[in-house]
Symmetry: C2
Subunit: 406 residues, 2 copies
């Protein structure tokens, strides 16, 4: 008799975005004339840039002719893309990452989840609170999380690190030994970043304790301030303790096209085993490479023309983030994130819960946000707004919120 993975039964329902959708739909139905502005989801809205579009068309044409047809590609990704990544994302910032330390995939979400395959199920996991739910849920599925405790809205065997205004969104080093540490900078959902010294403390901790840091740098391209590492490998010592996840989703609008990559340094060894070799074996066995068409599109991001065009798109979103931050602050709110991130983390008025404030913004302003409590208990008292929307709609949303608070 086949038995199922019993850890799946422990998972609580995934209510956040469905509950947002339910409340939004109910309001829209009751108010059919309302002009809703959706600032809740983390999806992009600007089209792919012309250089990427041209590269994808050319790649489709390659597949249309026998002489240029591409069948199975390398599971690790094509060298034309890996070499561009090594040069532009790392060497250009003084970081030496070899081509065979880069593994191209269909996206960072897949890699963030699948990376658990190469680790023992008894490792102790540490995550920030609030947190991108994928880190937690994938470990829970693998049996690393213990049981879900509804009362504290957390798993019994996961170490949660509050990351709030009280500690300037820089989590304290753990008080119990932890084995695998998830860090995300620029952070989803708070939009805040960890600077060099803050990351260095984590790298030192990991090297001293044999821990491994899972560093999610999906929003790296939004960093504009000096002193904020774009890669954890800019931090001395990180190659012996960290794995980094990157994505073309927010950088270049690939949320629907699908492409990301993971860096596993060859110096990263645990139990005498090379994690680079283990991840290579995992990918060769359970993955067949990212689409040739999409990899060609991703490589175009690194051409002179593509890079310039992508910057224009990023500037569009960065300006939205600035408008949101300025608008909320002018309305009297305390705001975090936004500067190096497409996410704006807004403190709710004193004594107002994040779901209550979500409702108020929906009803009074017809603006849809994401309640911070949906990302974990320490997200209570905040809502998240995203800069990925239309520029005019973003301005209009801020005008409405300004009028509400006037």
């Amino acid at each position: 008799m086949a038995n199922v993975n019993e850890n799946y039964q422990k998972l609580p329902g995934s209510y956040l975005f469905s509950e947002i959708a339910r409340r939004t739909a109910a309001y829209a139905e009751a108010h059919p004339d309302a002009q809703l502005i959706k600032m809740g989801i983390g999806d992009v809205t600007r089209p792919l840039v012309p250089a990427v579009v041209a590269a994808m068309h050319a790649a489709v044409d390659d597949l249309a002719r026998a002489e240029t047809f591409h069948g199975y590609g390398p599971e690790q990704g094509y060298d034309f893309l890996r070499e561009a990544i090594a040069k532009h994302d790392f060497a250009a910032r003084g970081v030496d990452i070899a081509v065979d330390e880069i593994f191209v995939s269909d996206g960072a979400k897949s890699d963030c989840g699948n990376i658990g395959d190469i680790f023992d199920i008894n490792n102790k996991i540490a995550v920030c609170d609030p947190v991108y739910p994928v880190y937690v849920d994938t470990n829970a599925m693998a049996g690393r999380a213990g049981d879900y405790d509804e009362a504290v809205q957390g798993w019994t065997n996961i170490y949660y690190m509050p990351t709030t205004a009280e500690n300037s969104f820089s989590p304290a080093l753990p008080e119990v030994p932890v084995d695998i540490i998830y860090l995300c900078s620029p952070n989803n959902p708070t939009g805040t970043v960890l600077n060099y010294e803050q990351l260095k403390a984590w790298v030192d901790y990991a090297n001293e304790n044999g821990s491994v840091i899972m560093f999610d740098a999906a929003y790296e391209r939004f960093i504009v301030e000096e002193g904020v590492p774009h890669s954890i490998f800019e931090v001395e010592g990180a190659k012996t303790c960290a794995i980094e996840f990157r994505s073309f989703s927010k950088t270049a609008g690939f949320t629907g096209a699908r492409c990301g990559y993971t860096v596993v340094p060859k110096q990263l060894v645990r139990n005498g085993q090379s994690l680079n070799a283990m991840w290579n074996r995992r990918q060769c066995t359970k993955f067949n490479g990212a689409s040739y068409v999409i990899q060609r599109g991703a490589a175009a991001v690194y051409t002179e023309e593509g890079a310039r065009q992508v910057e224009e798109t990023l500037d569009y979103y960065r300006e939205n983030a600035r408008v949101i931050k300025q608008g909320l602050e002018a309305a009297g709110f305390t705001v975090f994130g936004a500067v190096n991130s497409p996410y704006v983390w807004c403190k709710t008025p004193d004594g107002v819960g994040s779901w209550e404030f979500f409702d108020r913004l929906l009803v009074d302003c017809n603006v849809v946000t994401t309640p911070g409590a949906g990302f974990g208990p320490s997200g209570e008292g905040y809502v998240r707004l995203t800069a990925f929307g239309d520029a005019e709609a973003t301005k209009e949303a801020m005008a409405r919120i300004g009028r509400m608070m006037a």
Copy 2:
């Protein structure tokens, strides 16, 4: 201290295709004028058909305009593709599969590997011998295989079912209880098929024992004979005991484009849990949907024009298979597969091992094949040839083998 998944250390090296490459390269270096014909790999060579190319170009253009841009898609795949699959791959053959029983992905290899996530690690696995290595290796990585025994070239906790000419390539029902059974028809590597009655025996066994059948139908479109199910769901009772994997790779040349799908019936329940709901949760948590561009291309396979064009490509490969079978038989060999499959499974001459025969074909005919022993002990005494090559080269290879045997 982070510990690694110790099961990875148990994996033997993956020597088959690297050893083939090594021997081939050594021969080519010593004989630079040799005109090698490669019939070893299972990759396609014909380009994507025009309808698919046009659909991919249109999809790229969709992503190039804000009004038609597609960001995150459904993790399960777009309805335009799932509906086409349900209609053409199932309803057209009298099989009722609902759209929400179909999960589109980046390929069948990913799904075949990842499906293990939803099962307990103590399930007993049964595979055919010879076998597509992914079934075995992914279970070994998860800890279901026990230890690798070099002497018998197999894992201590996997139940191997010899599948050879002696049992007409129809494996016997197991003599010990097994929980998860991998079946592949048309089979890789033998090219043989299981008919309705043979599959029915497995479905009955699985339903009686609570086992789950992993049915790999990646080569389904090569079936030309009557009485051979294209889907296990054509077999009465399969919906309560089977999961089916499908691929656009060999059907429509998507080995480089990447698209496949998995069918998990809602009636499939174990330990009181819906496997459909569990796989849905797995995909929503660890996958972010297949590329929009590629899904549009896959949907074009089901248009009238696309279907006709794809049949022409399939006929090209089918004719190659016929040429190989006829050529080898004319040269005095005993041949299996080929009729409903792109794979031809050729018995080596009496007393000649599969690696020895591989070498003979390489040296005497400059034809590269795959030694059957590479797929498992019961593959000894066979070599595999594939029909995915150039038609003229395929004929030339058979002419050379004919001359060698004359």
